[in-house]
Symmetry: C2
Subunit: 328 residues, 2 copies
């Protein structure tokens, strides 16, 4: 048996089983966007993401400055999805000996720009030689009220930030040969993929308002991440397809944009559920953030799409997935 036949979910379940006995300070362990540890009177939130050349990015397609930004932001997104605030980062770089120092300078400069934007300090890391570029970033944040994946209940409403499918559309355009600056209409999508800007402050505001019962960031695609959230909460969901937030320009490039919105990865938006008594807080947050109501949690443990005619059908989970990648 080889790894490709061993489902990633099985692998993660196996690791979780192995490590099920956690010390009492570990409030959230394996299986959420980030781990949460009680540390003195505070909650420490920790996450790690690995970006590998040829798997998560292509050196010739990803400008190093933007790759630096993205490699930090994908981690900030995980901390935000727990309702936390990112504080510190560690950077592990594996670099081939032939790496151009200008590439590295640009990469570090991009990483720093994202760190400065979000008030995150780079406190350490590890540099080593490698065959291909390998980037490993860990981020430590803190939070008071932690929002996990497992708090969704029947009748809670499902919301998502920003728009969906943009990053997947960006990758398609990138593969077709579009480059930043070539075409204004394409740039919005290229940027979504190359330089994602997760709404990190929304995560901590949802925590402060105590507004979300569960949350996850949309990194693998709505269908996959909603599945994770529902599984952890022991519930199901229905998604109103015509409510999915799209960028208006996507229709220029896509005949079936909803497919990308449902299954496209790397949007790094926040997907969260809201109990009815917290809808007022969402209305307030809507003044500041693009937040869209897209569905409802149901008791039955399955995920359905509902089209505008009211027709229900099961949402396939194995959809469009350009990266084989999953959080443990």
């Amino acid at each position: 048996m080889k790894l490709k036949t061993l489902e990633e979910e099985e692998l993660i379940s196996a690791i979780r089983r192995e490590y099920s006995e956690l010390s009492p300070e570990v409030i959230v362990g394996i299986g959420d966007d980030a781990a949460v540890i009680k540390f003195g009177k505070k909650h420490l939130i920790v996450t790690k993401d690995v970006l590998l050349e040829g798997v998560h990015f292509l050196v010739n397609l990803h400008p190093p400055y933007l790759l630096g930004r993205k490699s930090l932001y994908v981690n900030l997104s995980d901390i935000a999805a727990m309702g936390g605030v990112s504080k510190y980062s560690l950077l592990g770089l594996g670099l081939p000996p032939k790496t151009d120092p200008d590439w590295l300078k640009e990469y570090l400069s991009g990483f720093k720009s994202a760190a400065d934007e979000q008030g995150v300090s780079l406190v350490g890391g590890d540099v080593s030689e490698s065959k291909r570029i390998s980037i490993s970033v860990s981020v430590i944040g803190e939070g008071k009220k932690i929002i996990q994946r497992n708090g969704a209940e029947e009748e809670h409403l499902i919301f998502v930030s920003g728009s969906l499918g943009d990053a997947a559309q960006g990758l398609i355009l990138l593969k077709k040969g579009y480059r930043l600056g070539d075409d204004e209409r394409a740039d919005v999508f290229l940027k979504a993929f190359l330089d994602p800007c997760p709404p990190v402050s929304l995560g901590s505001e949802l925590s402060r308002f105590n507004a979300a019962s569960s949350m996850i960031d949309v990194s693998d695609g709505l269908s996959v991440d909603l599945h994770h959230l529902c599984k952890e909460s022991g519930v199901g969901a229905e998604i109103y397809v015509d409510k999915l937030p799209l960028s208006p320009e996507i229709n220029r490039f896509q005949k079936r944009p909803y497919r990308l919105a449902l299954h496209g990865g790397e949007d790094y938006q926040l997907l969260f559920t809201v109990p009815s008594h917290s809808l007022d807080s969402i209305e307030k947050l809507k003044k500041k953030y693009r937040i869209t109501f897209i569905g409802k949690i149901i008791k039955e443990k399955r995920i359905l799409t509902v089209d505008r005619r009211g027709k229900r059908k099961p949402l396939e989970i194995q959809g469009y997935q350009h990266f084989k990648k999953s959080k443990t």
Copy 2:
């Protein structure tokens, strides 16, 4: 200009300069074994190490169970070198699709055995597909009195734990075709390389007794790591070569074992300096740990070896270095 002409030390200096403005809670940033952050009333100590197939380990030479142990222990060594106690870990794995699930099972089982031995919880991580195996481990620890690299002063005595050169000898034997279990006399060295056991509790005891003025773990070799320690402290050192602790069996395999002791990497022993008023504490600790006096800090900023006839000569820093790897 290519990376190989850009010295790693320069690279790390460049990153340090870029990130010199740290937030006030960051007590130790880039440039020590681990970073230290004030978090509430405690000190958080964080470190990260990346192990890459073909660079830091060879899949066919490193039994996965031992690789799992080593990938955690190299990080625990960094936390120990700050005088801290390791508490939590994050594991990032990049795995080729063809990875044998038994390999993975063994790896995880080894990681867990090391974690259990040292009371460390695995709290999260990231699994993704990659071309070659890539392992990234982060560890979070805590500590009260932090021991940095920069506290060594003139006349402080230099000590090292365990014996030196064993891991380098192990790698030599491994490359020659020796395998664990083939030859009892070789096994001690093979184990030192494949399954290092850093004296992690010694680090925290030195902190508790307030006995060490500076400390670093010997990962790149004594000459390189002593250079780091002296540079950070703004001092020099003299090393009494005939005092270097060797495994008695090393003479069977090596004509010049002191060369390995001075320049061989991956021993993961603790190198620390002690002011005269703390020598009583060291005597107490000697009952529990193998600790050897090997030299003295001098004012002049250079590192000398002293042979048994009293002949001094500069210690070359670029010695035997099988891995191009350095902490930022």
